[in-house]
Amino acid sequence: MKIKIFYFARLKETLKFSTEDLELPDDAFAQTLTILKLKAYLAKRSDVWQQMLLGKLKVRGAINHELVDDNAPIADGDEVAFFPPVTGG
């Protein structure tokens, strides 16, 4: 499966990633992928990733421009985004 991931604000700045295309083998892991599983997968990249995605500071997830919670399922072709709680207005 192929998904697109965006990172914003503190995450983008610290991870030095704003966006990436991620390709995963189409196995049981991919078929049951959720926001939380994807966070855990990405967190293995390094201590910084671990700290940013599973650290103390809350990270919100969105799928295809909709805010979702950690258990939301991710499908092939989805646009996923990770960012801190919003602070506009």
């Binding site: 604000a9 503190r10 421009h65 805010l67 960012f83 919003v86 602070t87 506009g88 207005g89």
Partner: protein
Amino acid sequence: MSVRVQTEDFDAGFELNQLRHARKDTGAIVSFIGQVRDLNDGDAVSQLTLEHYPGMTEKTLASIIQQAKSRWDFFEALIIHRVGSLKPTDQIVLVAVSGAHRGEAFKACEFIMDFLKTEAPFWKKEVTQSGERWLEAKHADDAARERWMK
């Protein structure tokens, strides 16, 4: 029903006049302007950078207006939100709601702001004398949003 995310400043007076004249049965226009404060948490702010998630931002703001529409009777709602680099006293956001009567327009305008603050994907970074810092979401904003859930 209009949503704009832009780097340029806006003219609140012009926008309010547009809303006023959109319908001749308009009796009330309630508006909110948010601007950059020179002080935040006790520190002098010299610059504020606003980042957003293009696409999701517009969709979220339009959906917030739709939610307000399903609760209250108003005519038009406008949201303009700036992104990019701002300085103290620069305008950040304009929310304006027109309607026949004031009560519904007041509620819709405040609802839109409370949801914008907690759901629209904008993030603020401040530059102060001690360096740059990303702003944290405020519990007060979550509480303001919760009021509408009762």
